[in-house]
Amino acid sequence: MNERATDHDSHDRLLIAAHAAGDAEGPDRERAEALLGSCAECARLAADLRSVAAALPSAAVPRRPRDFRLRLAEVEERPAGGPFAGLRRSIEAFRRSLAPVGAGLATIGIAGLLLAGTTGLLGGSSSAVLSTVGAPVGTGYGTSRDANDNAAGGPLAPGVASPAASAASEQRTPAATAVPGGGQVQSIPTPKPAVPEKLSPVPSPAAPSGPPPLVVGSVVVLGLGVAFWAIGRIAAARAGPED
């Protein structure tokens, strides 16, 4: 018991703690007992550990802050327990969190539809699409029906002559021209006006045949949003006072 404190610092304190608790066995116990016999600090540590452990039941506790008796309303308003109570509560919480997500999705969907409306996509007119991409009106981009209508001079704005329709009309006109005096002169075949390639009334084989993707996407997002919002609101209403 005459070792200096500096030696004690290098001693195995955990071993002393195990021995003080009666948990050191075999060689560990022998090592611990050797230390306790040779190091006064180790012996004091062991005694302190036992004293502190013995005093633990007397550690102060704060006063009980309330009466914990259960109220009938408290028992009834909370969801019943059971092995899956935690899981059920998590699912309910997830459902409730869907309401704001749904509202956000619905907003995005409405914004998409408004954008489509502004750019004319909602009416299904190919002209609006083309105008947005800077192509000439009536070139047949869009549905094949649009292309045919355009070729026949169909749904174009008044006073706007479709070059393509003009070309087709010229092709149908006989190559004779009446002249004053009843005679006919053989007309010299007039050269067909050059039709720009991109004004061809024939739709491209790759052209989409349904509503534009922006419209479809917006409707889907809006639908999901409304569904999520409804699920969230129902879950929140069911949870009631807990929120």
Binding site: R13, S51, R64, L70
Partner: protein, 202 residues
Amino acid sequence: MEYAGTVEDAAQHRDLGLIERARGGDLDAFNELVLIHQDHLWALVVRLVPDPDQASDAVQEAFLNAYRNLRSFRGGSVRSWLGRIAINAAMDAQRFRKRRPAQPYPELEDEAWQPPAGDDADPERTAMATERSRVLADALALITDDQRTAIVLFDVEGYDYGEIAELTGVSLGTVKSRIHRGRLALRELLEDRIGLFRGDAG
């Protein structure tokens, strides 16, 4: 000893009767159990969860869980059954506390604390005992949750290593290690006041 056993038997008999009535939907009977055991459960939980607000919530949750799971009571000691439910609620609160750290024991206010009742009338010794219980509570609040749980269950509640391993879901070796390290940590925290403890244990 025989007298103590008789008292214990009578208490157990009373508790079982209350459980039976509570199972039939009698909330008043259950609340009689709450009145009987709430001090014990509070002392147990607040030692495991040093924040009094969180400890209070955990005790409330424990009683609610007990009420909801009356069917799971398989006999034996009602006090132990409630204790185990409270320990689980306290460990849930500890996990919650790790995510949202809270203030440990607040500043000690004399009126808010209950020093252990002493059979010692000597004012000087009483003051010393009170001081010791307070510094010990302070130190206990500062060690890790795992160490505190193992120490409180072993040194205060009297569970054995195997029961603590089962309750906390760790191995026997881990339980022992937590107790040894926790006691060393307490000894270190109490370094300046260790004189209060010397000569206390044989």
